[in-house]
Symmetry: C2
């Protein structure tokens, strides 16, 4: 655990040559997150699709350590809404995250507890800095390619999924006329309404 | 400062499309670090060569933030010893660092305050985790290519260059018969001798 450690993260596949956890998130874990509830139920009745996967390198979950790994969001849609990650705040809110996009095409949807929002594009070679306090969700806007990112965040950050599960993200990314479009989430709970 | 921020880090050049500081380290800043003092003086008398450069993205230097940027070690040798960075401990010793090698060929030379040492190879696509407490120095072992890495470390880490300036690294990387070779540093000050 306390020795320097290396692994390979090379294209075109970008699966880390070494990892400790492989997390698979399926459609059934995203109840209430997609706008089109009928489309969600219809797909789920047929197949509990894999939406995204995460390869994690294990390190102690304490300040000073850096947790890191690779995220893969598969291409697809629920209704017109693209496949995406659950999205989360860090439990220790004042912790940042760095993303380096390895493959694909997408967007990072972000917001603060006060309801400020931001969206940044992801494509190969793009570095994204998610400052402390910003919740973040990766959305794959490509029709036939995985969205892959290398992520690094402080060891003590933790994951708060519950807040987003309850209030949603303020902005959603839907396909309209073949292009990604940012829309207001009609079910978003604004800070005053929580 | 508190908005999400993106920039590009793409080949073949891998110079970040946006940065706040550009640090240039020359031979004259490495007094006493190269084994071959005569060769060092001889080169310096002719030209104060640029050994390495760092492009830094500015963020607050506090825990929870992540400092990040790109390091470029140029190819070259002082005597038989390859061009390298000064190398340093983090002032807050219990802080890690992640490196992602973008270009070139090299080695990371590392050691703990207790004198444990480790060397890991760097080449494109290689991720290196430098755990808390390990001093680290990048060495370019290629004859004609820059060694480029993307680095990320906790905002509160700080840089302690003084310890390495005084005690040196335990291991040096020299060229022998056209190949990099790890040798003991005869001037290294072991923990008991400091």
């Amino acid at each position: 655990m306390d020795k320097p450690n290396s692994f390979e993260l090379t294209g075109p596949e970008f699966i880390p040559s070494q990892y400790d956890h492989h997390i698979v998130r399926k459609l059934s874990s995203m109840v209430g997150q997609y706008l089109d509830i009928e489309a969600y139920q219809e797909i789920l009745a047929k197949d509990d699709l894999v939406l995204y996967e995460v390869y994690e390198i294990k390190r102690p979950e304490v300040a000073g350590e850096l947790l890191h790994g690779v995220s893969i969001v598969h291409p697809g849609k629920v209704g017109q809404e693209y496949f995406m990650t659950k999205g989360h705040f860090h439990t220790v809110l004042n912790t940042a995250e760095v993303y380096y996009c390895l493959k694909g095409q997408g967007m990072m949807v972000m917001e603060t507890p006060e309801g400020d929002w931001a969206i940044e594009e992801l494509y190969p070679g793009r570095v994204l800095y998610v400052p402390p306090r910003w919740a973040h969700r990766s959305v794959n806007t490509a029709s036939n390619s995985d969205l892959m990112t290398f992520f690094i965040y402080p060891g003590n950050s933790g994951h708060d999924y519950g807040t987003i599960e309850q209030q949603g993200f303020r902005k959603l990314i839907l396909e309209e006329a073949g292009q990604p479009k940012v829309i207001d989430n009609p079910r978003w709970k604004a800070p005053g309404a929580r």
